[in-house]
Every structure is written in structure tokens, then in C-alpha cells.
Amino acid sequence: MSEKKQQVSRRQFLNYTLTGVGGFMAAGLLVSPLRMAIDPVLKESSAGDLANVSLAVEDITTEPTRVDWKIDQIDGWYESQVNKSAWVFKDENDEIQAFSPVCKHLGCVVSWEGSEDYPNEFYCPCHDGRYYKDGTNVPGTPPLAPLDVFEKEVRDGMLFLGEAKPKGEA
């Protein structure tokens, strides 16, 4: 008697449980369209976010100027503020260019006209690496690739920069 009672209650228990699981799955189905609707929004505010570099577009000239800004970065163990820099100018088509200052040889910081001997070029002081104004590496100098290019956007007349990508990919 007591055994039967127990069996029933066990079946009931299983029933409840399965309903529970089914309920969960149903809830999952309901949630996922919602998630899909929200996800792109979530993504935009986290990785790949563009930062305001405090430079008004109207102040950008054809002379490359260095801009510095900070971003918060979580990198494994460390959460820290990272300093970023870019060389920004308008090219002959009046388009904004923003190059990473990191030399493609071994990573030193390059400067616009950093050497008197090479006017109108970016110059890397470490091993005399050179780049033309459009970022292309000067053949015969150590760097083997053009300077990386920042993702960029103009919002309300201000320049926003994101990540630096190899030229042609940004």
C-alpha cells in the first residue's frame, strides 16, 4: 500500500519535473528572439567601442597630428587604463586618415617627420623605419607592412576612433 502510494508520488514527481523542464525550454524559446533583438545593442557597448578622442573634425588639417586618449581594457588578469595614440590628418581628398603610431617592424612609436633627413614621412627612431604619408612602408627599411589604420567615425563633428587594423581591413 505504502509502496503504491510511493510509486504514484514518484510518477507525479517525475511529471512535475518534466513539466518543469518543458517549461524551461518553452521559456528559452520565448527568450531567444528577445535575446537576438538585444544582442547587437549589447555588443556595441562592449568590445569594439569607439572612443571620443577629443578632436573636432574642423580642427584636423593636412598636417599629421598626434592624438592621445585612454580606454579601459580588461586583459586577462588586469583591468587597466590603456593609453592609445594615433596620427590624424586629412588627405588630399579631404578624407580623414588615422594611423596607428606603432611601427610594423618591432613596435616602436613612429613620428611624423621624426627625422630631419626624411621630410614628409613617418619615421621610426628605433631602426630607421620609414613610411610615406599614406602609411605605406618605404621599401628597403625594416618595416614590411603599412601602418595600421584606426576604425573611425564622426559623431557631432567629433572624431571617434576604435581599433587599429592592418591597412585594407579597417
Partner: protein
């Protein structure tokens, strides 16, 4: 380059391009109540500062782990230990050695050091994360890296 796995792997493959070491010298002493705050602050600033120089010149410079010593220690014997580090690095070879510090007491013992001492004056206290401090550090970093570069020519 830093003393960490990723950078060292790069270093090993490009040894001929990396010929300069920078060693930060940071005093530490808990028994000197009056100077505790100043010393701790300068330690923070120098760490940021050396990191910025490293970033500027990473392809040619190896930033050595900070040399830490008691503020009251005898500088001659500290210099002897430091020269041991330098001698070891020179076998690689590294041709240029720079020591960076806020501690002026090294100035008197400059001759004993096997390398170039870059003593940075000032910065007793302040807010490391303020805009002003950022500008000061940027400015100093630029000047010091220019100085380092002048040794390369």
C-alpha cells in the same frame, strides 16, 4: 620589451635589433615614516614612466625588472650588485644601459655604475591619474626617449 614570455619570444627572434636595457631604480623603506608616502608615490610614477618609455621604444629596448633597495643602503655595494646585472646583459649583447630613478643619492655614485644614470628630479606628490600628471609624464617621456635615442647615433 618587458621581462615576460610573449616579449621574450619576440626578443629571441630579433636579438640583433634590441641593444638597449633600461633598469628602473626604486628605493623602498618602511621604517622611514616621513618619506613613506613620497617614496611610494615616486615608485608608482617611475613604474608608469618606465612603462611609457618602453612603449615608445619597445622595438629596441628591454625594460629590466625594477631594482629595489633600501633607501638607507650603501650605494657602493648596491652599485656592485647592479653591475652584475649589467654584465650579464652585456653578454647578449646589449650595448646601452640606462638607469632611471627619482632617487638623487645615486647621482654621487654615478661613476660606480656601469651605464648611464638618468636622474629625474621632482615629483614629490600629486595625483597619478590627473590630466596634469599625464601631461608631465608625457613630456618627460618624450625628452628621455630623445636622450636615449641620441646614444644610438
Amino acid at each position: 620589451m618587458y621581462w615576460k614570455k610573449e616579449d621574450i619570444n619576440k626578443y629571441v627572434q630579433a636579438k640583433e635589433y634590441i641593444d638597449t636595457i633600461i633598469i628602473p631604480l626604486i628605493p623602498f623603506q618602511l621604517s622611514q615614516d616621513n618619506d613613506l608616502e613620497k617614496n611610494a608615490f615616486q615608485s608608482e610614477v617611475l613604474t608608469v614612466f618606465s612603462g611609457e618609455i618602453e612603449r615608445e621604444l619597445t622595438g629596441r629596448v628591454m625594460l629590466i625588472p625594477t631594482y629595489t633597495y633600501l633607501k638607507s643602503a650603501d650605494k657602493e655595494s648596491e652599485a656592485a650588485r647592479l653591475n652584475g646585472w649589467v654584465e650579464d646583459a652585456e653578454k647578449q649583447p646589449f650595448n646601452h644601459t640606462f638607469f632611471v630613478t627619482f632617487d638623487s643619492s645615486w647621482k654621487k655614485h654615478e661613476q660606480a655604475l656601469n651605464g648611464t644614470l638618468l636622474w629625474l628630479p621632482g615629483l614629490q606628490t600629486g595625483d597619478l591619474h590627473s590630466k596634469e600628471m599625464h601631461a608631465i609624464i608625457r613630456d618627460q617621456v618624450e625628452q628621455i626617449s630623445e636622450l636615449v635615442r641620441s646614444y644610438w647615433h
